[in-house]
């Protein structure tokens, strides 16, 4: 079945490290945006979606609109419906309404529980607010709560990170996404001198966190994703499995009916058009859903790349294995059927994947 991604590109303020597409929140604009999304959804009345994901931006700002949008989505009975939320706008009222509207998974932008680090990141919440947000969500009936965690941020140390992870382990969260801060061009962070940990420390932070989360019962299933038994994010898995998903909204991406396409980063254009304009992605020499995409995406999963499937999609398994032989031992595992990266390998996954696919 197909997944549905609805982009909610509104924020109260832009975080200084973020280069995702979003605009300043305004009530009138939100109302118009909602109508445009519903207009677009009407073209997919016949589609049954088994995962729905409201990503941002800060989707929870538009919780009222989202309740209405959900009335226009034909979701499967057991659909996973996720909404991203910022801890400082998580309130009992909105969450209760959303829960009733069918949302059953909340992804909280916790990032850290250390106030100094949060401040350095330019976030508006503190650790206490994040803890409270998780508890509120739980009390509103959400049993599937994910927390975003950032590594390698300014002022972060191995010790402070350890503490944040320990605290997270005590909260009612069942899923953790742990990303490394990447300094993107054209963001305020790119213009500043930042007190970032050094490379060796960052590597240790990542490996320590993998281990610590494992001990807390979160199993790593993807480079940056960890889940308790039964709480793997079904929507995200579609990305790594070359599954199909439809994206609605400016800057949203889709892989739908065999095509990958996206919508331009243009809020006005989106609101004004009857139907969003899909721009076909440049396949860059690799077929949509072909062996290269498969390898690139599956190698992000702990499960790894299945050689049979790789072959089925047109890949040359022998060549791949030949290239794999040149990769240092501790970076990958091969069990006769699948190649998978170890946490150490995940750290250099871009390099490894490029190496493995060089033979083309």
């Amino acid at each position: 079945m197909t997944g549905l991604y609805i982009h909610i590109p509104f924020c109260l303020a832009k975080c200084p490290y973020c280069d995702f597409y979003s605009v300043q929140y305004g009530r009138g604009l939100a109302e118009e945006y909602k109508r445009a999304v519903i207009r677009n959804l009407n073209y997919y009345k016949d589609e049954k979606f088994d995962t729905v994901y409201f990503g941002g931006g800060t989707p929870i700002l538009l919780w009222k609109e989202i309740v209405e949008i959900l009335e226009n989505v034909s979701a499967a009975d057991n659909a996973e419906i996720t909404l991203e939320a910022n801890p400082c706008v998580v309130l009992k009222e909105s969450l209760t309404e959303l829960r009733h509207a069918g949302v059953n998974r909340i992804s909280l932008g916790v990032q850290s529980l250390n106030d100094k680090e949060l401040k350095a990141l330019g976030r508006r919440h503190n650790g206490e607010a994040a803890i409270k947000a998780a508890e509120t969500a739980y009390n509103c009936g959400f049993k599937n709560i994910s927390a975003d965690l950032m590594l390698a941020t300014p002022l972060q140390t191995k010790e402070s990170l350890y503490e944040t992870v320990s605290e997270l382990g005590k909260l009612p969260v069942s899923h953790i996404s742990a990303y490394m801060l990447k300094i993107e061009e054209n963001t305020p962070f790119a213009q500043r001198e930042l007190p970032l940990p050094d490379e060796d420390v960052i590597c240790e932070m990542y490996l320590n966190t993998v281990k610590q989360l494992e001990d807390l019962g979160f199993r790593q299933y993807e480079i940056s994703n960890f889940a308790k038994e039964g709480f793997i994010c079904r929507h995200n898995m579609k990305y790594w499995n070359c599954g199909e998903y439809l994206g609605i909204g400016p800057a949203a991406h889709s892989y739908y009916k065999g095509e990958r396409f996206f919508v331009n980063r243009d809020m006005d254009g989106f609101i004004r058009s009857e139907r969003q304009e899909a721009v076909r992605e440049d396949p860059r020499g690799a077929a949509f859903g072909g062996y290269e995409e498969y390898a690139m995406l599956r190698l992000r999963l702990a499960e790894g790349l299945n050689l049979k499937e790789y072959k089925r999609r047109g890949g040359n398994a022998e060549m791949l294995l030949k290239e794999a032989a040149k990769i240092p031992k501790g970076c990958f595992n091969f069990n006769g059927e699948s190649i998978s990266l170890t946490p150490k390998g995940f750290l250099v996954s871009n390099t490894i994947i490029a190496k493995l696919l060089m033979y083309r």
Partner: protein
Amino acid sequence: MALEYPQNIRNFCIIAHIDHGKSTLADRILELTKTVAQRDMEEQLLDNMELERERGITIKARAVRLNYTAVDGNEYVFNLIDTPGHVDFNYEVSRSLNACEGAILIVDASQGIEAQTLANTYLAVEQDLEIVPVINKIDLPSARPDEAKEEIETVIGIPADDAPCISAKMGINIEAVMEQVVKCVPCPKGDKDAKLKALIFDSYYDAYKGVIVHIRVKEGTVRTGDKIRMMATGAEFQVTELGYMGATELISADELRAGEVGYIAASIKSIGDTKVGDTVTLADDPAAEALAGYRNVNPMVFSGIYPADGSKYQDLRDALDKLQLNDASLSFDPETSIALGFGFRCGFLGLLHMDIIQERLEREYNLDIITTAPSVVYRITKTNGEVVMIDNPTNYPDVSEIEQAEEPIVCAHIFSPSDFVGSIMELCQDRRGVFKDMKYLDDKRVDIHYELPLNEIVYDFFDALKSRSRGYASYDYEIIGFAPSKLVKLDIMLNGDVVDALSFIVHTDKAYPRARRICEKLKENIPRQLFEVPVQAAIGGKIIARETIKAMRKDVLAKCYGGDITRKKKLLEKQKEGKKRMRRLGTVSVPQEAFMAVLKLDE
């Protein structure tokens, strides 16, 4: 009065140090004689290669014919032959000089005589040329024309009292130069009815006419339709066209007589058939003997040139073929390197020549190339008595097979203000030089004479000399032979594997510091790999230097935003692209910059 043959012909060249204003004076002369219309006047017209204009040097000789009406009312034909001003092209210079009866010697009024100028002036004096000294750049505040004149008189030993003081740049007193040429340079001798002897002093390839040969007719007459023979190569051709060199175009004529300078086109396909210094004669009525002084110039500096992208091998070959059409002194042979794949071993007259060829390949042919460290030719006598010449370190025999190793030695003259003698001698000593003697040119300048191994000056000697003399010193060298030396081959290993393209031959005493420096440079220039990479330098299996490139521990783990796979794909493509530009040596990926960096060890 009408033109009288041959009394009113003047064949002359200009001798000057780089930047002393040779090309500028040539331009002013062209203007003055209205050979070039003002609107066609491009700065330094004779240097018609883009590179020449940029570097302010003349790479190849050019010639041009001018008409000049002298103060006495007589008309003259001037053949101005521009000569390259660099030591690498010494032989070409000597042939150009041989086509003339006189030489204008330009001396910079603020700098005095430089080593290269003196070397070329001696060459001119040897060939019995009349020297016309000219003091240039008198418009500069630092100009000391009287001292320059005095220097000419004491150093070269020719009177310079009535040498015109000019400014080529400002166009001051140019006519006086022309009158000096009329007065001092003798008209050509030679019998137009004798058997043909014409000297080739330059040639270039023209896509329509084939090779165009620049000649100076010494004896006899050559006409369109004549069957000619090149006396050294034996090649024969039919003259399809001949004439004079205008400044911007060729002007055809019916015949060229003894004393005249001009060109011949004869559907010649290969420039190798028209060697500079060779004698042209008539095939049906040949001269008994060729003009004296011809020799085959041998390349002295060698380096491997490889396409950065292996698939451009054929393009590189085509480009070298085309360059060779205009430059017979460039040699190249295919060679294979384990590290760099297919490429060419190229031979050059010297370092500047090598530089120019590399730059032209990159600029005019748009090729990305990798060049290996320059090597000189070594003469190795093996234990079995065999003597081999080695121009590629890869072919250097095993130590056990070597009875004696010899390296080329040059005799170098360095001209410098006396203040810098100490540090220049230190430099020469450091480069294994043997001091010969030192002469004072005047009370401020000296001529320091050293014998130096060529391999010590092929890298960066000139730069070092300049920096030790605040730019004032100049030098000139000539190869005088081979001398026994303690040489070793230094191998560079990456992850335990020898990289053939990085091997080089070095004197034992220099091996250690050099090895260390190269290892450091490689460490700086090779990106981290997935595993630790040792960089080692070894002599015959014994490691003498080592650095370690630490393993890469992480690349970027970014959030995959809303299923934006394309972002990841772009990253992957970028990574693959980057890897493609690298050379894979065993398990190590090496960017081409690393090969370049080891050429510039002293930065």
